[in-house]
Amino acid sequence: MLRDITIGQHFPGDSPVHQFDPRLKLVMVLLYIVLLFAASNPLGLTLALVFLAAMYKVSRIPLKMILRSLKPILPILVFTAVLNLFFVSGEGAPLFELGFLKIYAEGVRYAVLMGVRVIALIAGSSLLTYTTSPIVLTDAIEALLRPLGKLHFPVHELAMMMSIALRFIPTLIEETDKIMNAQKARGAMLDTGKLPDRVKALVPVLIPLFISAFRRADELAMAMECRCYRGGEGRTRLKVLRCTREDYLRLAFCLVCYGVILATRLLFPNF
């Protein structure tokens, strides 16, 4: 069950999407999310979906992965859709009426649009993590947040914390798996039994897991100090992020696409 988690899962590749400068890619993903809410007409959303599908195609990420990343948010998706379906009232006669529940044509429209938007949002941000390794991504975040350093915001520390956290997700998942197996071997009811029993059975898993996480943190701190880590000041990088001509072309391409999508919203607001 723990193997279903896809956070931070990275599929190495050499497609244009993979090679896109991580800083620009991050900004483009953020803009894409803004775009999803700005372009609220069906045509605009359709074009945004087409754009995303094309990006997935180019990056050669199997479409199955989108479904996997959507699985955990399915309840939220259904919840927002249902909420919109029942609570958006419109003009004209309701399509369906049962007691106090009324469904209007607008409600259906909003429910579908909202659903599509959430799907595109998750799929779009997943594409970023699928095509960018966590380390590069935190580098990009650090680079983008650097101006905040002038306000004494600990940018480097934050980025370091993020990369360590991301780095340890798979390790801790593996560790959890091991401990769970060991306690199951002693008869802990983790995969059998009723819900209250299963919750109680988590104690023997969580305690060793926390202890080992603290131990690992200690060891990591020691290892970092042994290599003279003293924070971000004066630290240089092995790989310096540099934008190439291709990056600017990719940036221009994205911006043009976003512009077209936004234009459809302004030209055909209801279509």
Partner: protein, 306 residues
Amino acid sequence: MASIIKVEHLKYVYNAGMPGEVTALEDVNFEVEEGDFVGIIGSTGSGKSTLISHMNGLNRPTSGKIFIDGRDIWEDPSRIREFRFMTGLVFQYPEYQLFEETCYKDIAFGPKNMGLDEKEVDRRVREAAAFVGLDEKLLERSPFELSGGQKRRVAVAGVMAMEPRILVLDEPAAGLDPEGRDTILSQVKEYHKKTGTTVLLVSHSMEDIARYADKVLVMAQKQVAMYDTVEHVFARAEELLALGLSVPQVTKIFLKLREMGLDLPSDVYTIPYAVKTLLAAKARRDAGESLILPRAAHPKGGKEKC
């Protein structure tokens, strides 16, 4: 005697149906008789750990069957817990699984899960602690205050206290000092002798296997490469070396001596037996018998006198 473990055409695939699909076991067949002490060897990635986690149903075979005491363990998945108590599994570095406030409570975790009454749990905890040589005083201490070797013993006792009919240990001596190694393994052997429990021991040390096991199961390339008595397996030294494994050092010496043309047995794998063999050979030489192998059988041998 009936086989307590019977594995038939066992196949296991990690991440079945996913892009990262890896076959870990392929058509594994073997049987273990009740009361045997079986050593399991194999190079890293040969499937040893995957195999042993099938013994109590932690992994479900992709295909094939496992019978414990004549019953197919996956016949009724809701009753898999019965088999978890029948096969006690001690993982690598088991000390990282300790979680209770006192060693006593931690050892009692397994028996308590079995639904035994207080008195029985108490008896089992004290007995298991005695088997692994854990001082009574330590039982009331927190497991986190103990040394690495002591923690390991607490963890092993936690499995022994379930009084399983099969005890499976995955490298119980890894990371211990030589004395700790010998202690823990002889305690397991002692436990095996006294209770008649079937023991499967995974180890990378050929010496340990030679010293404690009766039979050896060699895993290679996801399959069982050899399964025989210790003498027979270590006599096939060349094949073992080809599999990236080894034979006990004393066996290596005897094989070298044979290669040099001496008439000595090739199935020597423990030091006491080696001493006996050498003394017997000396007696033979003193009696005027030749120790030199015929040349035809050993073209490499060339020494005239020894």
